[in-house]
């Protein structure tokens, strides 16, 4: 078994709001192995984004510990930042700025020299299939092109771990399939560990090798898609939809699920 590249124990975050405390993440334990594509699956509001923001140092946990690529989240934030790339659901480019300028600035934020950053921008644009768009403004790109640019920004420093927050939300089917291919290729060619959140079951099924299902801020189940189907859906041929509903306790319970194939 490959070594753990991410491990978290009891990771928690409570937000203090005007209407009282909100326990967004209530104690997450998980391990992600090197070169794994992990699907972090859960309904809206389950705490997926909050967990990602903690693991990438954007948000301080209010409880628990974690380490990413051997760097402790609390003690070595810069180490964690150097090891991981992050694509937020909203992306992260300014629509009024040129594609090349954003990529070069990003390279320089990761402490590349001017020449290195320019070369890396060309290389990434070529690799991710938007070499022809370098001189366009970010705001003129299509949804699928924007996503590839966002991912390129996060790959600038060749991170060991890539965090993607709902990477295909809002994309058309063709762009989604392209993105799935890109994620697989990153893992296969560069050995990148990919940690992606989604609330699309087909995406989790098609892309992730292992799923961690979160609900209301805690891990509700984890395993390969087929193991989860067998255990919670009642059969390896159960739909992930039924499995998911069984796990999160909304909709039919396992006993009520009509076996899909008997």
């Amino acid at each position: 078994m490959a070594a753990a590249v991410i491990s978290a124990a009891g990771l928690a975050r409570t937000f203090q709001t005007k209407r009282g405390p909100v326990e967004a993440v209530r104690g997450i334990d998980l391990t992600v192995r090197e070169r794994e594509i992990l699907g972090f699956l859960g309904p809206n509001g389950a705490g997926k984004t909050t967990t990602l923001r903690m693991l990438t140092t954007l948000l301080a946990p209010t409880g628990g510990t974690a380490s990413v690529a051997g760097h402790d989240l609390a003690a070595d934030q810069v180490g964690v930042r150097r090891a991981c790339g992050y694509v937020a659901q909203s992306g992260g480019v300014d629509p009024s700025i040129g594609v090349r300028e954003e990529l070069v600035t990003q390279g320089r934020l990761y402490r590349l020299t001017r020449d290195q950053a320019a070369a890396r921008a060309r290389e990434l644009a070529h690799d991710l299939g938007f070499a022809g768009l370098l001189d366009r403004k970010c705001g003129t790109l299509s949804g699928g092109q924007r996503r590839r640019l966002d991912i390129a920004m996060a790959l600038t420093h060749r991170p060991k771990v890539l965090f993607l927050d709902e990477p295909t939300t809002g994309l058309d089917p063709g762009s989604r399939a392209d993105l799935w291919d890109l994620v697989r290729r990153l893992r296969d060619e560069h050995g990148t560990t990919v940690f992606l959140t989604t609330h699309y079951l087909d995406e989790a099924d098609a892309l992730a090798e292992r799923l961690v299902v979160v609900d209301q801020g805690v891990v509700a189940a984890e395993g390969t898609p087929s193991a989860l189907k067998l255990r919670y859906g009642g059969s390896i041929d159960a739909s992930l939809q039924d499995t998911f509903l069984a796990i999160t306790g909304r909709g039919p319970s396992p006993a009520d699920v009509t076996p899909v194939a008997v």
């Binding site: 954007l58 992260g92 300014d94 009024s96 934020l109 402490r111």
Partner: protein
């Protein structure tokens, strides 16, 4: 690293400002209108013991430029938070202090540039003031911009919509302007107003710049002005950096 990072952030936002030339010039419009249509009303009033009314009005307009301009700097953060730009930068190893300093130094550059335009216009209208005094005035504009810009960015992380941010800033800047005697010196005020105005930090800055424009560089006003401006800027940058570290959470 701090210098490298600050330079990088500064460059990114300065290029952004240079791309919108119109916005760059638009900022001087309000103080310019005061200069053109309000300034001439003062020329025959006995505003101070020394110098012309222009030496009293122009320092106030310079700080007004910075007060109204820099306080609204946070609007950009609200937009960038929506676009994910701030998080994308915060997830890199870039210095948190640089994320703030690069932005406020860009703001200081923009407002000092506008201040130069305003002073040129004022000279054409009849302002005469010693060159060192004018340079000191620009330094105060820069310091005030750094201070107010930092606070404005910090506030923008807490108030997450432009609809709340705009009215809030207006509610803070309008009384500040009136109470600090930017338009007319507080020496004209009744005692209660004069006392009240000493609670507003800008009062000390405008008094110092008026002294500078009159050629007295070692007055008590100047000492207090420098202390308040430097202290205020240091405090504001500290608060602002903390907010960039935690993103207001």
């Amino acid at each position: 690293m701090l210098l490298h990072d600050t330079g990088l952030i500064y460059g990114r936002y300065l290029r952004q400002s240079l791309r919108s030339r119109f916005a760059l010039l638009f900022g001087v419009l309000m103080p310019l209108l005061y200069l053109l249509f309000f300034g001439p009303l003062l020329t025959r009033l006995p505003l101070g013991p020394r110098g012309s009314s222009w030496q009293v009005l122009v320092p106030g307009l310079l700080l007004q430029l910075s007060l109204f301009g820099a306080s609204f700097a946070g609007f950009a953060i609200i937009l960038e938070n929506g676009q994910g730009v701030v998080e994308r930068m915060r997830v890199t190893p870039v210095s948190r202090l640089a994320l703030l300093l690069g932005r406020v130094l860009r703001d200081a550059t923009v407002f000092v540039f506008q201040a130069v335009l305003l002073v040129l216009a004022a000279v054409a209208m009849g302002l005469r003031a010693p060159a060192p005094g004018i340079l000191i005035g620009f330094a105060f504009v820069a310091l005030l911009t750094v201070a107010l810009g930092s606070l404005s960015y910090a506030l923008a992380f807490k108030v997450r919509t432009p609809q709340e941010f705009g009215p809030l800033i207006n509610a803070l800047t309008m009384p500040s302007m009136l109470l600090s005697g930017l338009m007319l010196p507080m020496t004209l005020a009744p005692a209660w107003l004069d006392v009240l105005s000493h609670l507003v930090p800008f009062r000390y800055l405008v008094d110092a710049v008026r002294d500078a424009y009159a050629g007295s560089y070692t007055s008590t006003h100047m000492l207090y002005g420098v202390l308040v401006a430097v202290g205020f800027a240091t405090l504001a940058v500290t608060v602002g950096t903390r907010v960039f570290r935690t993103a207001g959470a």
